[in-house]
Subunit: 499 residues, 2 copies
């Protein structure tokens, strides 16, 4: 009985979250501009009521009264809910409110600081964010390192020490590759990436291929435009992705397929966990493994373009003129060290992430002072990518994360990249899947992902998913090998032992 | 203090309502089809939580503790909230749940019955609806007639006896006019109403004119398509109207301007009542007076088409070919007795409503048995419009209202029609407004409507609004005179004393 009552309550919390999510999606894609002020109040009410309902004494009583679960489904619900509830109740209301106010102020200060490329005005807010992060880590508790408590919010069970070790390995084995690529020079005509491709045709092509190649169908999903692309969903039958159209047309295409990866993960979670806390992706890292797999490992592969180049040529003849599938493949895999993370390619992207991870860890420990951050940023940027930002807007102020109190978030991007290749490698041990991938027919691969990753939702931890699906813990090996194989080919480099 | 606490709570109730409203709008205009089942659960949660919060003991305590208000704004909030709260708590949860279940079953039975034109399968559900309506009237209480308690939900303060008397007057004075019009024959080439008008051009023209003529701007409003047109809003800066595109292009144009009238009413409510129960239109009748004024009194007038015909000719040259403003004016004012209410013109529309009012009143009183309803319907249809439905789908089963338990709702359509003319007549006593209307420049009229109707929201009753704005109670006189003046002109009839 109390399990039923608990599920009813979790359903309500989930429904309030879905409503807040819809309000947010609507705000980014549909809402008239003047509605913003009241919409903010409305969303705050929904989030507040959801939090109240979830942390209420009655929820704790129901969790206690539920005792041992009678089914595996219920066991997962209890396990995940107890964990979430314990974390949610460990932060006192006073702290939560102070943090919300500080984040709000920091966000506005960051917008201002970035606009004027003036780090000094943002610095006190970043200090406040770090102070709150340390206090939050203490309130949540940890065994090894305060960073672990923060990272756990996004990547349950992962520790800073593990990240450090995997990242060091990755860095040591891919920095030489990057240097060789840069030395090799251009591998294609990159002018094709900004050839004329009408906005409606970009969106339509991206959306059609999202359905045909990756299974995202209008019966349970839709595509809209927004300033910053994202995926959100209000049930596994109500998936929404957004895209942005630029002159640089790969942004729309690969961005759409990236969000498609996120959406298909949520689609694959077993329906028995509907409207419970189990019913979403296991972590940001596992989520990113799916989006990166679709965006990079599949959509930036040669077989993909051998299959879809003719369709592209039909809808965007000006882009395709004088080009063939291998030429397009080389163009969309341009390696180009740049200052901006969100514009980075597969080889340089992880250096942007490592730099941020190393800096936020040092800030949290206090070994780096906020005052010295810009200098430290620029030094690492020079060391990794050979570039020095001309100003802080294009350097330390470029990302929204720290101003939003998101400390411990950045590593999940690279953890996702590593996991994407480790998963694909494991899946390809099945000959049918491997053959499908070589023909850009992803049905068998999608089924494998549902079976080994998606269906579990949050009922397994990221570590459990990784080890069960691939037979070993997360490692940089497959990713390093993938980068070498792919880019030595594209840039005509002599194969090097990447071990 | 308790007033602040009360406002906080009312804000939460309002926000939950806005979220449910957005979910409903999304369902009708954006949502992928397969999402419907879970969306139903989500909306039920939001509506349930809003009802719980509003009827909670704490709300009653806050209402009591608030005592006398310190401002006119607060006084209206207390008055309206106390009234709503008393009504909401008079219906026991058991009754509300029984009614919701019965409505759900009745709705499905109605869909089925209409599809097969089989009244018998719907009859037991209609009996249940009438039984629930009688019980609801008893629970809510009334002085004269149980119908009053139901009508009060949609038209606060209005009584069946008043409706009877006004409707009888209207019927006696417009039925002869209708007969004369029918005898006169066609007044224009009605083929123009289905000439080719591309869907996108219909929507764009309707939306542009909604902004230019009636003030509905993209900064605070948007237009979408849906199967059944409606207006909804989540704040006065977040108005949403929908339209439907048909071969019969006036459906899109006049439908859009009808919903624009609803939207501009909500836009005009004073901001000081934001997120309180005062912050919406006073009643369905007053709402309909605004939508009908825009749709019929303004957009179906000769000055309107003298102004907008050139724009129409530009976007729909095939429609305008060989036509001029007076010709179009006569065509869009075709009087044509038909079986279907939603397709009815200004002269016949009210007979559809009177018929329904008379029948639902007789059903509620028990003087008419559900079993005898189709026969009674057909007899009245013959008496008023000279037509007999070939089947019940085009007769008694055509409207959704009764299957949804909406008894007492129909009269508000005609009350709105009557009030629309009474208000416009009062406004036109101002020479500037009258001159503006004759040039289809509605700025001064809109300002008058905001001042005399919109701004009050629910802080005045419909009767108060009518009497203060027009100097007398609701009467059929202005509407009868309007119909005679307009249609005697269009159909070339000798002017008759309409008094």
């Amino acid at each position: 009985m109390s399990m039923d009552e608990l599920k009813r309550r979790l359903g309500q919390v989930s429904d309030l979250g879905a409503a807040a999510g819809l309000m947010s999606w609507d705000q980014e894609t549909q809402m008239p501009g003047e509605a913003a002020r009241v919409r903010g109040l409305q969303m705050a009410t929904l989030e507040g009521l959801a939090h109240e309902l979830f942390t209420a004494a009655q929820t704790a009583e129901l969790l206690e009264a539920a005792g041992e679960a009678e089914s595996e489904t219920d066991a997962a619900i209890l396990r995940v809910t107890r964990r979430d509830h314990a974390k949610a109740t460990r932060l006192p209301t006073g702290f939560v409110e102070e943090a919300a106010r500080a984040r709000n102020e920091a966000h506005h200060a960051w917008l201002e600081a970035r606009q004027h490329s003036d780090f000094a005005t943002f610095a006190p807010h970043l200090e406040k964010m770090m102070d709150l992060a340390r206090r939050q880590a203490d309130l949540l508790g940890y065994e090894e390192h305060p960073y672990d408590a923060l990272l756990d919010e996004y990547e349950p069970g992962m520790r800073a020490s593990q990240v450090k070790s995997v990242f060091a390995d990755l860095r040591d084995r891919t920095l030489p590759l990057l240097r060789r690529i840069v030395a090799a020079g251009d591998a294609a005509d990159y002018g094709v990436l900004t050839r004329s491709f009408p906005p409606e045709a970009q969106k339509a092509f991206a959306w059609r291929v999202a359905g045909e190649a990756f299974g995202l169908k209008p019966e349970f999903a839709r595509q809209d435009e927004s300033a910053h692309p994202f995926q959100t969903n209000f049930s596994r039958s109500d998936l929404r992705i957004t895209t942005r159209v630029e002159e640089y047309w790969p942004a729309c295409l690969f961005g759409t397929w990236h969000e498609t990866g996120h959406a298909m993960y949520e689609r694959g979670v077993a329906p028995r966990w509907e409207r419970t806390p189990v019913s979403r992706g296991a972590s940001l890292g596992v989520h990113e493994s799916q989006s990166r797999m679709f965006e990079n490992l599949l959509a930036r592969s040669l077989p993909f373009w051998e299959r879809y180049f003719p369709q592209l040529a039909e809808v965007a003849p000006q882009v395709a003129a004088g080009l063939d599938a291998p030429g397009l493949y080389r163009a969309v895999n341009r390696v180009n060290p740049s200052l901006i993370r969100v514009e980075a390619d597969e080889v340089t992207y992880n250096f942007h992430v490592m730099l941020r991870f190393e800096l936020e860890l040092a800030l949290l420990e206090g070994s780096l002072k906020v005052h010295d951050l810009p200098e430290a940023w620029n030094a690492k940027m020079q060391a990794y990518l050979g570039l020095t930002p001309p100003n802080d807007a294009q350097g330390v102020l470029q990302d929204i994360h720290w101003s939003a109190g998101l400390i411990g978030y950045f590593p999940t991007y690279t953890l996702g990249n590593l996991l994407s290749v480790q998963l694909l490698e494991a899946a390809r041990k099945d000959a049918g899947i491997a053959a499908g991938v070589e023909r850009a027919e992803y049905g068998p691969l999608l089924a494998w992902l549902v079976e080994h990753v998606h269906q579990y939702g949050r009922s397994l931890t990221p570590t459990q998913i990784t080890e069960r699906a691939t037979g070993r813990p997360l490692t940089a090996d497959p990713y390093v090998a993938y980068l070498h194989g792919k880019y030595e080919g594209i840039y005509g480099l002599t194969s090097e032992n990447s071990a």
